[in-house]
């Protein structure tokens, strides 16, 4: 089977890779690029633990082929912190106890990062709807909502 040479930009840095057609984007990120912040939690595109931003849009990287990402921009959780400064969402999740085991957290962060780009003042219902593709077993979602509201307020103040 043919291998494909691809180039992806991840968190602003270009990477070259040689991949099988069937390599899932999440495996490219985790196994080849060693960016293990993006997680795998299911096999039927339900849990969202694998969420990354593809050209700014949150997608489930387990249901995207690495070859489909050729030439495109990917943002993962590792790219949220900029020069030692945490993203307000990361601050919010920490401040408001929006995580417990931490496994769904990168997916939650990426999804809500995209949400706050689109919607500067999301309501609780907006937030719950936005994260309805990300499953969490630990938190009961209450504090995730609070974390996002914290970040939204912080971002509005900074603007």
């Amino acid at each position: 089977m043919a291998m494909h040479d691809i180039q992806v930009t991840v968190n602003g840095a270009p990477y070259d890779a040689q991949v099988e057609s069937r390599l899932l984007l999440v495996h490219l990120l985790r196994d080849q690029l060693r960016l293990t912040g993006t997680h795998i939690g299911c096999d039927t595109t339900h849990c969202g633990a694998c969420t990354v931003l593809l050209d700014g849009q949150p997608v489930k990287s387990c249901t995207v082929l690495a070859v489909q990402a050729n030439g495109r921009q990917i943002s993962t959780v590792e790219g949220l912190e900029k020069e030692g400064k945490l993203h307000p969402l990361q601050e919010g999740f920490w401040e408001k106890h929006g995580l417990q085991c931490g496994y769904c957290t990168p997916g939650m962060l990426m999804t809500t990062c995209a949400l706050l780009e689109k919607n500067k003042n999301p309501s609780e219902a907006d937030i719950r709807e936005a994260i309805s593709g990300n499953l969490c077993r630990c938190t009961g979602y209450n504090n995730i909502v609070k974390a996002v509201q914290f970040a939204a307020e912080r971002l509005r103040k900074e603007a």
């Binding site: 089977m1 043919a2 494909h4 099988e20 057609s21 069937r22 899932l24 795998i40 096999d43 039927t44 595109t45 339900h46 969202g48 969420t51 593809l54 849009q57 949150p58 997608v59 489930k60 387990c62 249901t63 995207v64 082929l65 070859v67 489909q68 050729n70 999804t111 709807e129 936005a130 309805s132 593709g133 990300n134």
Partner: protein, 290 residues
């Protein structure tokens, strides 16, 4: 969770894509959003030798009204439909539908063309397109052909699309004044396929009677169900509660659901009725009726 091997092609133009489809025939599949196809391949429930990714072909994602039609490119993302102001204000049935497909993340990749071409009676757009009286544009090596939506869904995972064709556009007639539509989906949780769903699009005459109506159901048969008998019954009548209720009864009779974890045959058929009633009521309200 890991697919079997296949070859991957990313043609840059439609003719290239069509040539590849002709070349590989049944051993090739079109990759659009991939949110129906890739899950199947990952579970090794489906197999293919070649994926033809149409994602690099420019000019297949658009939403525009022209010539009395709403024209949507086959590769238009569900999230784009959901976010479109034109669709939200003038085609609320389509907005309703896009909003309940899978979850917000899947909608960033999933496409309208894929949702129709997959031929899964559980997908949401087919019923809505039936209600809207849409047309599917299939582009093949010999050019375009326009397929009325009523002729598009042939059976379980079977559509009128040929192996060497790509679904390039959906055309929806711009509804006249005093039109309204709604799509209501009963799901066990966000992200699920419909236990049952109903798509209703009505146009009211100046006297308040129903001039035109499209009514179709999701996931209650091997194909989406167009409630033809119910539609015929409604035309010319005032949309009062009893009339809508009777129409919904007839629609439910047209359903042939299978029992599964979402419900028994009896329950699903009843839910088709309940949802058809509610969708018709909402469509009428949106059309400026009661």
């Amino acid at each position: 969770m890991i697919p079997a091997s296949f070859d991957y092609h990313a043609p840059g133009t439609l003719p290239e894509a069509l040539a590849l489809l002709s070349k590989y025939g049944d051993d090739a599949k079109v990759l659009s959003g991939g949110q129906s196809l890739l899950p199947l391949l990952k579970l090794r429930l489906g197999q293919t030798g070649h994926l033809i990714d149409i994602g690099r072909i420019p000019g297949l994602e658009y939403i525009r009204e022209e010539g009395g039609l709403l024209r949507i490119g086959g590769r238009t993302r569900e999230s784009a439909l959901e976010g479109s102001e034109v669709i939200r204000s003038r085609y609320p049935i389509l907005h309703d539908t896009a909003k309940v497909i899978a979850d917000p993340l899947v909608r960033n990749m999933a496409t309208l063309g894929g949702n129709l071409a997959h031929g899964d009676p559980g997908n949401d757009h087919p019923a809505t397109m039936l209600a809207l009286g849409a047309q599917v544009v299939a582009t093949g090596p010999k050019g375009e052909r326009v397929i009325p939506i009523e002729q598009f869904f042939l059976g379980l995972f079977r559509t009128a699309l040929r192996p060497d064709e790509v679904l390039t556009e959906i055309r929806i007639p711009v509804p006249p004044a005093r039109s309204g539509g709604a799509y209501l989906k009963l799901e066990r949780k966000v992200g699920d396929y419909a236990t049952a769903a109903a798509a209703a699009q009505v146009t009211l005459g100046s006297g308040g009677a129903i001039e035109r109506v499209g009514l179709a159901l999701t996931n209650v048969g091997p194909t989406p169900v167009k409630a033809v008998d119910a539609e015929k019954f409604l035309v010319g009548k005032k949309p009062d509660a009893a009339t809508l209720g009777e129409a919904a009864q007839r629609a439910a009779k047209a359903a042939s659901p299978s029992a599964d974890r979402r419900g028994s045959v009896e329950y699903k058929r009843e839910m088709a009725r309940v949802l058809a009633t509610r969708a018709l009521k909402l469509a009428v309200e949106r059309a400026g009726g009661r």
